[in-house]
Symmetry: C2
Subunit: 186 residues, 2 copies
């Protein structure tokens, strides 16, 4: 459980490496002295530079209001060993409990945003809300990643991918076929 | 290679089961008597019902114009054995070649849309463009899935998940923990 990572700055234009495969992420927020965390599966990369991420957050979530008001969050990528925490965080209302304390996670200060970085996660992407125009109709935030923290090892995290009905797909092995790609198209 | 699936109608509100884990998909389009296919990794589920999918398609892609003009496409989920076709389709300009012929894929008529269903893919989601307001700034289509074709077996496809730099993550094993979820929150 006490897995630790030695993280360094990572180019924000390159975080698609971790998000495009579609992992479940934990979104941490801060507003008026309080932290919160939610589990999120509905997100997509939208642009390399600026480093844009689109995500749908149900307005009933406590985190929706915290993100909407503060304009900031951190997207954290948990590895498989945190599966019970991922489910528990998704099950728990942030209005009533401190999820960091309840789930034994450590909030570290963001470098650029006030939202906390979750130390126990593989990678952390500090984000600011870049566009709110899709909120009213779709609860869809467009975020810009402004700072990324990623460990050199492991090169790729072992991630959780959600299918609904309580079923997770786990990330599997990797296949590298760069020789088949056209330059500039990779 | 000649893997076949016995597909049936699948509830469109349930296709998150296949898209939320983040697979690479093939997007097929039809416009003025011609078909095209593109490889796409930047997509997210946005709503259960209506069944909404958001996706970013670079405007330089031939498929962008075909989707924008026709207002229709099919999202097809390829399994791992189609990896070379997935890469080849991403490498090839649809203005010059018939990708179905070049890559040995079979276009079948959509039931609701004129875009072709790719027979060799695991699942096919017929879609109509539901919202174009994010096209100008982000090339971001909001699609509504209006018809889904999915086989009963295998229950879950073996999918490709792209990381960039020619590297694919393959889907791994599944873990079911429905007992840990709060009812209504699953």
């Amino acid at each position: 459980m006490a897995k630790t990572y030695k993280k360094a700055d990572f180019p924000v234009a390159g975080i698609r490496r971790f998000l495009e495969p579609g992992p479940i992420v934990l979104v941490s927020t801060h507003w008026k002295g309080k932290h919160n965390i939610m589990t999120m599966g509905w997100h997509t990369v939208m642009e390399f530079s600026p480093s844009l991420i689109g995500c749908m957050i149900t307005a009933a979530n406590h985190s929706y209001g915290m993100l909407e008001k503060s304009g900031e969050c951190v997207i954290n990528i948990p590895e498989i060993h945190l599966i019970d925490e991922v489910i528990g965080i998704g099950n728990t209302r942030g209005t009533r409990v401190d999820k960091f304390r309840k789930f034994g996670l450590t909030p570290e200060p963001g470098e650029v945003v006030d939202a906390p970085v979750i130390k126990e996660c593989y990678a952390n992407f500090e984000c600011k809300v870049a566009d709110r125009r899709m909120l009213d109709k779709y609860n869809f935030f467009i975020l810009e990643c402004v700072k990324a923290h990623v460990p050199a090892r492991p090169k790729f995290p072992k991630t959780l991918h959600y299918r609904g009905e309580g079923i997770f797909m786990l990330s599997g092995r990797h296949v590298a076929k760069p020789e088949l790609f056209r330059p500039g198209n990779i």
